[in-house]
Amino acid sequence: DAGITQSPRHKVTETGTPVTLRCHQTENHRYMYWYRQDPGHGLRLIHYSYGVKDTDKGEVSDGYSVSRSKTEDFLLTLESATSSQTSVYFCATGRGASGGRENTGELFFGEGSRLTVL
């Protein structure tokens, strides 16, 4: 299994407070992703990174920012949390698919961080 650690695993916070979720990987994967999982919506991409300091927006990026200063760490920040951001957040990593068929493009997921915004 890819070594992906998310912290914190559970957090309860109040509306308007800043929150940072951390994803740490030991696999030296180039790509890192933040998804949120909500009933009826599946997994929705928030932001992703294709290298150190290289990030891009996903489907639901409003209200979120990310930073990647090292290959192994990808931080997700909610500058001012709202109740609509109550969710389970998953970090994922990947080597990145390329032309060679031996590279499957597989994503490896952490175990999730459950965030409740009151």
């Binding site: 998804y35 009826g40 992703y48 294709y50 990145g96 493009g105 999730g112």
Partner: protein, 112 residues
């Protein structure tokens, strides 16, 4: 707008039966279609994947059927077992861009 539409939302199958989950997409640039399996309290894990140059891929009891002209693909679980009870997600990406879009998930319950 959801890039990948998945159905059904939930599915109950008897042990030994066939489970079928369907997905559809609109973006014809997608060229990589994985399925992920998620157990409660865990992150999703890759189950099987297909690229559009083939119409079917089989790994053990799991088969992906792909219909490029209809822009649809499906997961078939043969001889379904209680241990297959999990949530299944289809996904799509443009292979070299590594940006993955997931369906809304199907919760499968296989009854003994």
């Amino acid at each position: 707008q959801q890039q990948v539409k998945q159905s059904p939302q939930s599915l109950i199958v008897q042990k030994g039966g066939i489970s079928i989950i369907n997905c559809a997409y609109e973006n014809t640039a997608f060229d990589y279609f994985p399925w992920y399996q998620q157990f409660p309290g865990k992150g999703p894990a890759l189950l099987i994947a297909i690229r559009p140059d083939v119409s079917e891929k089989k790994e053990g009891r799991f088969t992906i059927s792909f219909n490029k002209s209809a822009k649809q693909f499906s997961l078939h679980i043969m001889d379904s077992q209680p241990g297959d009870s999990a949530t299944y997600f289809c996904a799509a990406s443009i292979y070299n861009f590594n940006k993955f879009y997931f369906g809304s998930g199907t919760k499968l319950n296989v009854k003994p």
